[in-house]
Amino acid sequence: MKAPLFGATFNRLFGHGWLGAGYLFLYLPIVALIIYSFNASPLPTVWGGFTLEWYRKLASDREMIAGLWLSLRIAFFTACASVVLGTLAAFALVKYRRFTGRTLFSGMVNAPLVMPEVIIGLSLLLMLVSMQRWLGFPERGMLTIWLGHLLVGLAYATVVIQARLQDMPPSLEEAAMDLGAKPWQVFYLVTLPMIAQALMSAWLLTFTLSLDDVVLSAFLSGPGATTMPLVIFSRARLGLNPSVNAVATVIIVVVTVGVVIASYLIAHAERRRQQEVAAAARANP
């Protein structure tokens, strides 16, 4: 920047300080959570030496493991369905500038991003209860939780995929169409490879959102369908619990490693694609 706010050195130091303090604020709780998962003391905030006791207990914690298994299955199906519906919704919004009720449609896609979850959970549950009274299904359980997670997942997936579709030049699809490709061929051969990274990001994001959700699951779960966040939440409500710290550490490590690897692969694929585009441009000047 040509004109610094208060003089270059002060400006840089202030900027670094602000960023550093901000990241400290964002990461301090995570670090504390991990450190206290190895705490041997019975008092949760007093350090009493190193132990792996809580992890050993976690391995035989049936309630938590059953919850994890249920959560993983719901998150998997939520992520897959969110990406499919989100792709359709993003296409509808980007490719078709006008259709009947477009404003209502974009409103319904965006609203779950901010709508308080207690409202979504309550209204969806009451509808499903009414539906069950008329049709005899669905029973509250995995399916109903999935429906709730899908509503929020669809919104997030659409935003991610929409951003990618908008940055994509329409010339490539038009060229394919001019060369005689049918619409579905254009989609599979041109569009899909170009938005593949966005689909991957959307899948991961909706997977983690579903894996984390408490409120929608609490409203929509039935007897016997207790997801892992519900187990964690019921323990956390009662107070500090080292078993929560241990499960938190496992989740944080797995998610961090997963996200870092995925974003590395996505960035790598993107670079290679750009190199190929550049090479093709050089070959056909």
Partner: protein, 316 residues
């Protein structure tokens, strides 16, 4: 796309099988109407019906061959007359507004310095903001319970710096040294959780800004401080509004954070709804609480939708 290339006539089956366009728009549209819009209509309906012993009465009933409409507005009368609901709605709006203001005050400089950092490290900085966002929100809120409890790291630090005295004087905590289960711990938790939602749209906005505009302002004699307020801030208006709505609206109805960090005395409407539903099993009253909450956030929601739509129009 559905017509024959030479004759221009549709094949008979093409009239039955929906077109590509129809499927692309129709499937998500139908899904959202069924699982997003319809539930709100049902909630509104239930909020004006009466609770019976096991199930609530239908609004429309057939009585002696005549369709009868019974609207019970008693739930709404109850909400408006009982002082506690009014206070709780007010408190929720207040906490959400304070959280939004704090997120903006912390997040704007943060996003600004991120956007002006070296281009090579910006992806890493962005990744570091996103990463906590990917890891469990529930667990990160729970972590604050440990940090703010007695002997917790942040509690020790704040008490050591005598900041608890200031917080006590400002009536944000109940007693010096007791930080958990207070308005203070609630707001810390909400600011912490929603800060990335403020930073990300602001960063996206500030990173795109044309820096030549600042040079032009400097050439025209503006000091950097003036240029910041007259050029940078107005240009980032869309980011400020998007970020503020992303923080404010969900905060109004927040449940998990007040439940874990707010203690029994901090009033939040999300908890009232939860208790009416799960503890008192009063579905019509819970529905009425939800309908009033929707009415409170409908204007911010409309603003959010408008800016979200405008942002997508502009980019393409």
């Amino acid at each position: 796309m559905t017509t024959h290339p030479t004759t221009g006539e549709s094949a008979w089956w093409q009239r039955i099988v929906p077109s590509g366009r129809g499927v692309v728009i129709g499937v998500p549209y139908f899904w959202l109407l069924l699982f997003f819009l319809l539930p709100f209509l049902i909630v509104t309906k239930i909020s004006v019906s009466e609770m019976e012993t096991v199930r609530f009465k239908d609004v429309l009933t057939l009585k002696e061959g005549l369709l009868q409409l019974t609207l019970k507005l008693s739930n709404y009368v109850f909400i408006t007359q009982d002082d506690i609901y009014f206070k709780t709605y007010l408190a929720s709006l207040k906490y959400a507004a304070v959280t939004t203001a704090l997120c903006l005050a912390i997040g704007y400089p943060f996003a600004y310095f991120m956007a002006r950092a070296k281009a090579t490290i910006q992806p890493a900085l962005l990744m570091l903001v996103m990463l906590p966002f990917w890891t469990s929100f529930l667990l990160r809120v729970y972590a604050w319970k440990g940090l703010l409890s007695e002997n917790g790291w942040v509690a020790e630090l704040l008490i050591g710096l005598r900041i608890d005295q200031i917080l006590f004087a400002a009536d944000l905590i109940e007693a010096p040294g007791k930080l958990m289960n207070t308005p203070f711990s609630l707001v810390i938790g909400m600011v912490y959780t929603y800060l990335p939602f403020m930073i990300l749209p602001l960063y996206a906005n500030l990173a795109k800004m044309d820096l030549r505009l600042l040079e032009a302002a400097a050439d025209l004699g503006a000091t950097p401080w003036v240029a910041f307020w007259k050029v940078t801030v107005p240009l980032s208006k869309a980011g400020i509004i998007a970020g503020s709505m992303l923080v404010f609206i969900p905060c109004v109805g927040e449940f998990v954070i007040p439940e874990l960090l707010g203690g029994p005395k901090t009033l939040m409407i999300g908890r009232v709804l939860w208790d009416e539903f799960f503890s008192n099993n009063d579905w019509p009253l819970a529905s009425a609480v939800a309908v009033v909450m929707i009415l409170l956030i409908i204007v911010p929601l409309a603003i959010f939708n408008k800016y979200q739509a405008e942002a997508t129009e502009k980019r393409s």
